[in-house]
Amino acid sequence: MPHNKNDLAKALNLENLTEGERAEILAKVDKRLEEVLIAVLVANITDDDAQKIQKALHEEGADLEEVVAEISARIPNLATKIERAVEEEIMRLRAVLVQ
């Protein structure tokens, strides 16, 4: 959503860049934050869960979303963990970009 992107751009001090540059960096940041989410997921599941997700990834007709939802719902305080991981990543990004 545009206004969210703007907030993020503001937080990362990208406002003075050209629109193209800003969009490019934000896209990378978005991707990076998604990677952070994946890291949170993988860091907090068991090997058995990993196997289930892998199976759903490769199995035709498997409900991947449902499998991941069910597994991630079991992670205590997952929301907090996401929050913290994202927070840390944004802190680092700010360390890179904000003077």
């Binding site: 490019e24 907090n44 990993a50 196997q51 205590p76 305080n77």
Partner: protein, 885 residues
């Protein structure tokens, strides 16, 4: 006539009065409910004139009613048939008898009765839940719809309104429960209600939660339709529950203290910032840096499976595939559902408990939900409570640990399994449980093989077929492990050379991975930990201490740049909103941000939660048969009980030619050879000598073997005297004479000295026929306790003393006084031969010393060795216990 729904509110006397009018007795007025109820029971008596019969019928009736009430409580609804929609007296009697019996005798909570539309039944809410019963009556239909899996959602606004009304009542209920914590539910509710999450008031969020899929998921599970996500939600709740929070508090403190150290990336990010390059180039450089780093802490320790999954998921993200999007969506939904369990679980749990009675799984989940209500309370606790919790928890855990020895461990036979495999699995599971409870059992491969072989003998002669289940109690398994721990280094070496390599590396990997038990029935640690935490939580709640401010938050705030934090938070929120809008799930994790503890993944708990399915290593058969493949000589497996005083035997010659050629017989020379010391100091075998102090001389031996042979030739009394001197006298009876260059090296190198001490100690004890202390333990103990004296060069004797100093005792002093002057090194010549006739050590001298010792210590010489051996054993046990603790 138009039928009107009439209500009987048994909790209000007016209702009864309407029906019957009050009846009074002169002395003690009875309530109308009691009067009607009595009539019911009187009628039973009247119908059974024989008093004995009447009493029996009454009891039977009570029993039947009790059963009906129990069933009704499970459904949450008590239904009674009535004869007439206008209620006959019999109807009234029955209704009030049931109501009275339920509330007075059985302590149920019964709501007002209501006549159904058919006019043939009345029904009332019934619950066995303690405390205030929430009158769900007026919400009944709506809320039922809300939780009906077949129904569609009723809309966020409506659901929110209902949820709030119910929750407000619920908070009143909590007020009583958390009285000791001095919580104000209204205040809590106000916080919740005023808080906005991503621009949405919490009440709206709550409504959408209730109307959404999450609640229905829960209900579905409660009604036994499906599993999975409720368990997930309850796990989330548990994660947010009080005891988890208390544990998390400590972890969080540690995390914050380590964060600055750990987050080197942040430091390097700052370095990038200082470079005079454009923003885009900085970002690119930062991402390049990330590629070289582990994605998150502990990544390297993760299993290959999870690493692979991580790679696969990253690939999906990279190509922006549908699958990647599904993973993120599912992840977001899971987070939201977990958050419901955590943040609103208390309310949902209470509601469900009053409204539904489901499977035992659901009951357990609800119990966990209830715990989550304490998370807010915890935010108001001070550090003291953490200690209270820890102590209670640890105490309970220790009790549980002690009970492990009495637990029955199982092993299930798979195709191709042998008794050895079964024993191996039992040992594995026993160790895994010990370790899960915090007690490390370190067995090397040789020891594991020895232990499984020892254990296997307990099943000797037993035929085994796939599907058979064998079991042993923990103590039996522990005994085999203890025996294995007493293996000598020679015994271990023998097994290592002969058998360890016969078992494949994959099997070893599985055997030595103690993350979880092979057999799910052996997962006792989980039960113990849960029970311990339960006890601790109960204790903490009951302790009613004055809880202070939220220390964890203070710790979290410390050192943070608040201005930066607010910007970060803004950015985070905006990004999360975007993320969550994709998932279509509301983000409830924001609840109570300021008071919430930031919990890290509790790896230990997660490990307990995982019960690895019983599976069998495919290549377990490799090198694995029922043949007794561990062939040890007596001295390799030193299991001799001290009391038995088994005569030591000489070490078997190593089988490998290579070793035999290079290292002569002497054990210490072998030791120096193995350590590379012999080569480094150009040590010759003849430079190592053993000196033994007898009552009137010092004997010198060129090798350990010869000293042992001499010792074995002594009479028992002389042996006993030597052992006593060695163990108790101020100056040990046996010393080693090493060349000066080696002594200097030893004096300068604590580690070498420590290792040397342990080796010599083991050899001497071996000669005495004592069990050898495991070297690793010995290292720790000797070095820690006696570093000042042990292994140091004695300036007077110029000999290296390898054992710890004894406390000076009367006996010790006496012994010293009676000991001949220390013989200086230069006075000793190799001609002081070891095989000289022992006649100088006369029985008279010997007896004299025995008499002295007997007087001073009142010990019977005959039992001296046994006592010493027992003390030694006790010492070891104490050490083991301390290690366990």
């Amino acid at each position: 006539m138009r039928m009107e729904a009439r209500k009987f509110d048994t909790s209000k006397s007016e209702d009864a009065q309407i029906v019957s009018g009050p009846e009074k007795t002169a002395e003690k007025p009875k309530s109308p409910e009691e009067v009607w109820s009595e009539k019911y029971w009187d009628r039973i008596k009247a119908e059974n004139p024989d008093p004995k019969n009447a009493e029996a019928v009454k009891k039977d009736t009570e029993r039947i009613i009790a059963g009906q009430l129990e069933e009704a409580a499970k459904k949450g609804k008590l239904e009674l048939s009535v004869l007439d929609k206008d209620f006959t007296d019999l109807d009234r009697e029955k209704i009030f008898a049931y109501s009275e019996f339920a509330t007075r005798d059985k302590k149920y909570k019964v709501g007002p009765f209501k006549l159904d539309e058919s006019g043939t039944k009345v029904s009332a809410e019934i619950s066995k839940e303690r405390g205030k019963v929430i009158d769900f009556l007026k919400y009944k239909e709506k809320i039922s719809d809300l939780f009906n899996k077949e129904e569609k959602g009723i809309g966020a606004e409506k659901a929110g309104k209902l949820a709030i009304e119910t929750a407000q009542k619920q908070f009143q209920f909590w007020k009583e429960r958390y009285k000791a914590l001095d919580l104000d539910p209204k205040e809590m509710w106000a916080k919740l209600n005023n808080k906005k999450i991503l621009g949405m008031p919490v009440k709206n969020l709550l409504g959408s939660m209730a109307a959404g899929s999450a609640a229905r998921f829960i209900v579905r599970t409660v009604s036994g339709v499906s599993g999975g996500i409720l368990v997930g939600a309850s796990a989330g709740a548990l994660g947010n529950g009080t005891w988890e929070a208390i544990k998390a508090y400590k972890k969080e403190k540690e995390r914050l203290s380590k964060m600055s150290v750990r987050d080197k990336i942040l430091e390097r990010a700052k370095d990038i910032n200082e470079k005079n390059i454009g923003q885009k180039a900085k970002v690119d450089e930062y991402f390049e840096l990330l590629e070289k780093e582990a994605p998150f802490p502990d990544f390297e320790q993760m299993s290959e499976r999870r690493k692979n999954l991580h790679q696969e998921l990253l690939k999906e993200l990279k190509f922006e595939s549908v699958k990647g999007s599904k993973v993120l969506k599912g992840f977001g939904r899971g987070a939201a559902v977990g958050a419901i369990g955590g943040a609103f679980g208390g309310w949902i749990g209470e509601h469900l408990n009053n409204y539904f009675q489901g499977s035992s799984e659901a009951a357990a989940a609800i119990k966990d939900f209830k715990k989550s209500a304490g998370s807010e309370a915890f935010s108001q606790m001070n550090g003291g409570i953490s200690d209270t919790f820890s102590k209670t928890f640890e105490g309970a855990k220790t009790e549980g640990l002690a009970s492990l020895g009495t637990k029955e461990f199982f092993s299930l036979a798979d195709k191709g399994d042998s008794l050895t495999t079964m024993s191996r699995n039992l040992i594995h599971d026993y160790i895994s449980q010990k370790q899960a409870l915090g007690v490390e059992i370190a067995l090397d491969k040789s020891q594991l093989i020895y232990a499984e072989d020892a254990l296997k003998n307990l099943f000797k002669g037993r035929a085994l077929s796939p599907g058979d289940e064998l079991s042993l109690i923990g103590e039996q398994i522990n005994s085999a492990i203890e025996k294995a721990q007493l293996l000598t280094s020679a015994g271990k070496e023998h097994i290592k050379q002969e058998y360890v390599s016969k078992i494949g590396s994959k099997v070893w990997e599985q055997i030595t991975n103690y993350d979880s038990s092979f057999h799910s029935g052996n997962n006792f640690s989980n039960e113990i930990l849960n029970s311990s935490s339960e006890k601790a939580v109960t204790f903490v709640h009951d302790s009613a201490q004055g809880f202070g401010a939220d220390l964890a938050q203070r710790v979290a705030d410390r050192g943070r740049n608040r201005a930066a934090e607010s910007v970060v938070e803004k950015a985070r929120d905006s990004w999360l909103e975007s993320f969550l809008s994709v998932t279509g799930a509301a983000y409830a994790g924001e609840y109570g941000t300021k008071g919430r503890l930031k919990e890290f993944a509790d790896k230990l708990r997660k490990r307990k939660a995982l019960v690895r399915e019983y599976r069998h290593a495919e290549d377990f058969n490799e090198g694995d048969s029922d043949l007794r493949y561990v062939e040890l000589t007596e001295d390799m497996a030193i299991e001799k009980k001290p009391k038995e005083k088994v005569e030591p035997k000489t070490e078997p010659k190593p089988k490998k030619e290579r070793v035999e050629k290079k290292i002569p017989d002497d054990q210490m020379f072998k030791y120096f050879g193995e350590k590379g010391i012999a080569e480094k100091f150009k040590l010759k075998p003849e430079e190592i000598r053993y000196k033994v102090r007898t009552p009137n001389t010092v004997k010198i031996f060129p090798s350990y073997e010869k000293m042992t042979r001499w010792f074995n030739s002594l009479s028992q009394k002389k042996k006993d005297w030597l052992i006593d001197q060695e163990l108790n006298a101020d100056e040990p009876a046996i010393k080693m004479d090493l060349p000066e260059r080696l002594r200097e090296f030893m004096s300068a190198s604590p580690l070498s000295r420590q290792s040397f001490n342990a080796e010599v100690d083991g050899l001497i004890k071996n000669m005495f026929g004592f069990r050898e202390t495991p070297i690793s333990k010995h290292h720790e103990q000797t070095e820690e306790k006696s570093e000042e004296v042990i292994g140091k060069l004695n300036p007077e004797t110029k000999l290296l003393e390898y054992r710890s100093s004894r406390q000076e005792t009367a006996q010790g002093r006496e012994n010293t006084a009676a000991t001949p002057d220390v013989i200086k090194l230069e006075d000793l010549t190799p001609d002081d031969e070891y095989n000289k006739d022992n006649s100088d050590w006369t029985e008279d001298v010997f007896r004299g010393r025995i008499a002295e010792e007997s007087d001073s210590e009142s010990r019977d010489m005959k039992n001296l060795v046994e006592i010493l051996a027992e003390e030694e054993l006790e010492k070891k046990n104490n050490n083991s216990n301390q290690n366990a603790a």
